[in-house]
């Protein structure tokens, strides 16, 4: 192991002689090989954080470790659970309960999500370390490695590394709550743990450092391996025509056809189903954000304050209500839908797109989302009939990859089996 370190480290030192570049010291040698499923290209790995089997394994432990939150109560895995395609289990309460809460709603909007503009507890939104409600649904991590931007709507976060510092250490909203005054407490927990001593040594050598950077690098490496390209639809594309039902096949034609046009935004490398997507061969990768007509408060195109999409980052009115199109892989498992969880089922989502937006007739968020001036020109009233909606839903369900959910390499190492 030591010899293995020595040679490349020395070579790098000669090359960087005189420059101020610091070389990331690692004992591993970027030995991780991405699975080549159905010919999909590998995701981009940032140069400063090469990926290795050992780093992915360290990242898996950290991902599921509640000790990363100073209060020792939540981990990344609390809101991103493998069996739910890495969203939170709070959604797994059955549709009946959600429909009941919708019955109390005004104009189709879940009032428990937005009562008087305040986020109420006991709804479908995830909770942070202080049992504080997070304003947006946790995003699934399926194929996160391929995104060009991270979180629901943020042009500034272009890598998993940049993104992770937000749930890890942000003050507002507070998720894990690893703010700087609690860093020593958390880092010492890791330093004192024999399992981590070995895991860190395996990745970063005998003189390893436990700090935010190395934790983020390991977490990013684990998340980068959460790759799902083994659904019935993939098998269908590979030549197994029986992998899709007739309904799903009709739904596929609608999805990629000019009537439903879902593929314009849910595209990306053909079957990654998000236009904000890239791989190692993508030419000039870009991030895209779309306003789909969910709100139109006071007919000015406004979205609820604090949840106005890309506008929150850029303060450019043209960015009002614009959000990233997430991948549709495993979408069956990630209800409720949209950034705020305000659509309960896939059928609600299809109703919404069929109408070309949402009308909210009463209350604080009253407005005709269909007429939102910032709405994407690709969203218009397309009048899908019931069968067409069901067919598209069947197609979406064919994107569920069960091998991804149960892959032992994605599971919580602290869970007793």
């Amino acid at each position: 192991m030591k010899l293995k370190t020595f040679v490349p480290f020395l070579a790098l030192l000669f090359l960087s002689c005189g420059s101020q570049t610091t070389v990331e010291k690692q004992t591993d040698n970027s030995d991780y090989k991405f699975k080549k499923l159905y010919g999909h290209l590998a995701p981009v790995v940032p140069k400063q954080n090469p990926i290795s089997e050992a780093k992915v394994e360290l990242g898996r432990y950290l991902f599921f470790d509640k000790r990363l939150s100073p209060k020792n109560n939540i981990s990344c895995g609390s809101c991103h659970e493998p069996q739910h395609a890495f969203v939170d289990k709070i959604r797994n309460f059955g549709e009946d309960k959600f429909v009941n809460s919708l019955n109390e709603s005004v104009g189709g909007v879940c009032i428990k999500c937005h009562k008087d503009g305040q986020i109420e507890p006991n709804n479908t939104l995830p909770l942070g370390t202080d049992e504080n409600t997070i304003i947006r649904e946790s995003m699934g991590l399926t194929n996160a490695a391929y995104y060009t931007s991270y979180t629901w709507a943020n042009s500034a976060l272009g890598t998993i590394e940049r993104y992770i510092t937000t749930p890890l250490s942000n003050d507002d909203p507070k998720e894990l709550g690893l703010v700087s005054e609690h860093e020593d407490l958390v880092f010492n927990r890791i330093l004192d743990d024999e399992t981590y001593q070995k895991l860190f040594q395996d990745v970063f050598g005998d003189d390893y450092i436990v700090d935010q950077k190395h934790i983020v690098f390991a977490l990013s490496s684990f998340i980068r391996t959460l790759i799902s390209f083994n659904s019935p639809y993939d098998q269908y594309l590979a030549g197994n025509h029986d992998a899709l039902s007739d309904e799903a096949k009709r739904g596929k034609d609608l999805f990629f056809g000019e009537k439903a046009e879902c593929f314009h935004c849910h595209s990306g490398g053909d079957t990654r189903f998000s236009d904000s997507s890239k791989d190692i061969k993508t030419f000039e990768p870009k991030a895209f954000f779309h306003n789909t007509g969910l709100f139109n408060i006071d007919e000015n195109g406004s979205f609820p304050e604090g949840n106005r999409g890309l506008f929150e980052i850029t303060t450019d009115l043209n960015d009002m209500g614009k959000f990233k199109a997430p991948t549709l892989r495993n979408i069956e498992l990630t209800a409720p839908y949209m950034h705020d969880g305000s659509l309960a089922t896939l059928h609600d989502v299809l109703d919404f797109y069929s109408n070309g937006g949402r009308v909210i007739e009463n209350g604080k968020f009253k407005g005709d989302g269909r007429a939102n001036p910032h709405k994407s020109s690709l969203i218009s009233k397309i009048n899908l009939n019931e069968q067409e909606k069901l067919d598209i839903i069947e197609f979406l369900k064919s994107l569920t990859d069960y091998s991804f959910l149960v892959d032992p390499k994605h599971q919580d190492p602290f869970k007793k089996r």
């Binding site: 020595f6 480290f9 943020n154 976060l157 272009g158 050598g205 980052i313 850029t314 303060t315």
Partner: protein, 304 residues
Amino acid sequence: MKKTMLSVALMALLMGCNESKVDNTADNNNNKTDIKSKDVKIYVEALSSHNGEFRAINDKNTTYTNLGSSDVNATIKDFRFFLSDIKLINKDGKEVLLKVKESDYQHQDTNTNLVLFDYETSSNKTTNNLIDASVAQGDYTAIEFTLGVPEKLNHIEFPDINALNHSKMAWNWQAGRKFTKIELLPNGSKQWNFHLGSTGCKDNDGSIECKQPNRVRVKLDNFDITKDTIVFDLSKLIEDTDITTNDGAKPGCMGSLADKDCLDTFVKLDINIDAKDGKCTGSDCSEQVVFSTGSNRAKNISGK
């Protein structure tokens, strides 16, 4: 492992790497000219002012009175900010960059410098209210500096750079740093924050560009470096702002030109809110009222 490191270091030495080592001392950098350098210590006072009385900000438990447009009392939970690109101007109008000494709060970079000021005193951790630097000898009459972190340093991830490595100043959602972290606890109402930083940021395949830089360039004329101080007056910043109400989704101003809580404070810093580009009106921020020249006149009201 230690043996390995030693041989690497030895090899590096033999290769002549040591000659390219950056030397930060002013003497060394100026040794080709005849100008000698001298040490400069400039204190930066954080204070609140009311009716001609100046109260030093240096204690978490002290209640500061008459703050904001609603004249309320508040305690100060946090008070930190970055100054950078600090230059002195001599009587001929020539600008000379200060060479700050590397420390936990100071970083000297190529063509710029960065100092973090920290007035949080309730914990035992260190604080900083000093620019500790050297400069070529000369007759200086003014000082210039930027409230904020220079563009070239602002977006570095996990920096191994003094001052920049204070994780409390990280502003993750804009992939940069908070230029100010001012957090007030007004009596009887919720926390009010003033977080300034570059906004409208975009990752262009690895390089971050921000539409609204929100950096404030300040020039103080008739500044005597031997005895004057730089003053940051909180009362002036929030003079027209009601810190007991919140006009946006975020408590106080979190740097967004769209947040009504920011508008009145941005006027005080001379950031042109009509242009919505995060730049000052005109070519500089000469209309700002937050920074001024002082002389250690602030009264210590904490009893310390």
